[in-house]
């Protein structure tokens, strides 16, 4: 993958493409998750965390009230133990949330899943538990620590302006960190050796070269399209890919345009209304010719080469 210039305004999907070599030695393409999607995923997760903490607390306290346990300050011993358990679980809840979901088979928190993201190892190897633990522990330092810092300064009536500025600077350094590197890594990703990539899926599209038209038969005119070496040698792989896209999109005007262009180039006349059959036949025979070339180590990138 070509290196992109360092300074750019808005990363297009192409600039977010990366190649990773799997342990089997085959390069796989990945798309770095967009920064906006990641922020949104984080916000979504935080909302879900707060909601489930509130829900859990409500259920626990309803239960405590149902069995008539005094949970307030100075309540009985069982009540105190319950409150201690509650405080500890709330204290650890955030960590457990991220660890549980990112260590699960789906490798993503609900927020990430909604936005089609997931965590992966940057080197193409296994995503280790230790890496997931590290990247989530660092999140606390990036995000929670400055907030606690400001909060505790407010609570203790200390010099809040200094604490506020220090906390804000701390927060900004880490919040801007993903904008200062190509792979949108936050500090936790750097330490853990991970990155967040898109996890899209697509269906296998039907082969274009196996239909009736591809055999050269035209259902409309009952003729058979067969192209000679000279007529096929004008185009390369790039044009073949454009032709494949046009055939898959299957828009009438585009088909006509492309058929006319090819006819003009090779000196043919496809006849009106039979463009699709003509193009399928041309596509199949061009592909056959180019693939034969590939097997002999001769590739033709486009019509100029």
């Amino acid at each position: 993958m070509a290196r992109q210039p360092r300074l750019r305004r808005r990363p297009s999907p192409d600039q977010r493409k990366r190649q990773v070599v799997t342990p089997e030695g085959v390069p796989l393409p990945f798309t770095i998750g967009a920064r906006g999607a990641r922020v949104l995923a984080l916000v979504l997760d935080q909302v879900l965390i707060v909601a489930s903490m509130a829900g859990l607390s409500y259920i626990l306290f309803s239960l405590a009230r149902a069995v008539n346990i005094k949970t307030g300050a100075g309540g009985d011993a069982i009540g105190q133990v319950l409150v201690v358990v509650w405080i500890i679980s709330m204290f650890l809840f955030r960590h457990i949330w991220f660890l549980y979901f990112e260590l699960g088979p789906r490798g993503a928190t609900p927020g990430k899943r909604v936005l089609g993201l997931r965590v992966a190892a940057r080197d193409g190897g296994r995503l280790t538990t230790e890496a997931v633990v590290a990247r989530n522990l660092l999140r606390d330092i990036e995000l929670t620590l400055p907030l606690i810092f400001i909060g505790s300064a407010l609570a203790q009536n200390e010099d809040t302006t200094f604490a506020g500025w220090a906390g804000a600077a701390w927060f900004l350094i880490f919040a801007l960190f993903p904008f200062c590197n190509r792979d949108a890594l936050r500090a936790g990703d750097v330490v853990a050796g991970t990155w967040v990539v898109e996890a899209g899926r697509d269906r296998l599209k039907a082969a274009l070269s196996t239909g009736a038209g591809a055999q050269g038969h035209s259902a409309l005119t009952q003729t058979r399209y067969t192209f000679g070496e000279a007529e096929l040698s004008v185009y390369g792989e790039y044009e073949l890919q454009v032709l494949e896209r046009v055939l898959r999109e299957n828009r009438e005007d585009a088909l006509v345009d492309v058929a006319q262009t090819i006819c003009a180039k090779i000196g043919w006349n496809s006849g009106n209304g039979d463009e699709r059959a003509f193009l399928e036949a041309y596509y199949t025979q061009l592909r056959a010719r180019l693939e034969r070339g590939m097997r002999f180590g001769q590739r033709k990138a486009d019509k100029h080469s």
Binding site: T22, L28, L204, R287, M294
Partner: protein
Amino acid sequence: MIARWFGKGAAQDAAVEAAALRSDRFRQARESDWQRLDAIVTAVERGRLRKLSDEDLLALPALYRTAVSSLAIARETSLDAALIAYLEGLARRAWFAVYGPREGLGAWLRRFLLGGWSAAVRALGIDLLIALAVMVLGTVVGWLLVADNPDWYYSLMVMGDDVRVPGASRDALMHTLFGQQNQNGLSMFAAFLFSNNAQVSLFAFALGFAFGLPSILLLIHNTAGLGALLWLYHGQGLTLELVGWLAIHGTTELFAILLAGAAGIHIGRAMVFPGEAPVLVAAAAAGRRAAQVMVGVVLMLVMAALLEGFGRQLVDSTPIRLIIGGTMLALWNAYFFAYRPARARVSG
């Protein structure tokens, strides 16, 4: 197109025969394997692992390798862009499933507690000694500073209480150490958990990424307060009582701060002396080791909070406090340095 709807049957063989291109025959011959892999991976993505049969789960790695090798072949022999895009997507999704985290939270936690944690602590090596030396140094410096000029006390102790100040009477100081059974342990516990020391630990670790120096300064600053406190109580002949009061939770808490500081120093040292590796790689490797230790530090702080919130209020005698604190210290040391199960190892 037709071949998609059939298994590896006669119909497919016919389609293979009919296909004009060698690359299409390649595709049709393997398509059923890809579809099976696709179905398995989709089930994993949806979190329906239990619905998968054992055969499917066992076949996953082999099918993944088939798909990857198909992709490698297709890139060299086929110009069907849609096919290559599909195989890339399929191989990527299967790669997520095959090379994803192998163990869940529970399994990891078990391994962590049964040896992984102590192995991670031992991996810090010399940094533990550095942190210990820094903490001892900080305490001594705090003591000496305050002994030299009591005004230092106010700059070293950040807490704003009016009782524990230079010139306080023995009785007043005594009262802070004993006879507080009626205090609300719960609020003490909660206050501790979300208070200064938990943050100090996290900061000591986090600041390791600034080449470790701030971690050392933070350790010195915090233990200097300890030294000043010791000096204050020593002046009224209450040293042992104060040590008992501190020890019951302090051996756990100070140990946690020591580990956090050592973790920070570990990262800082890896960045200053990265050896053969690039600085960032060295820092990342050290950070992963240190993160393991920090998970343990969080657990230790929860335990210290329990000891401070309840243990200290319930136990009002110095010898028993010292025994509890000493026992905790011995337990931690045994756990970290003597407990070495053969199976446990720390990776990352």
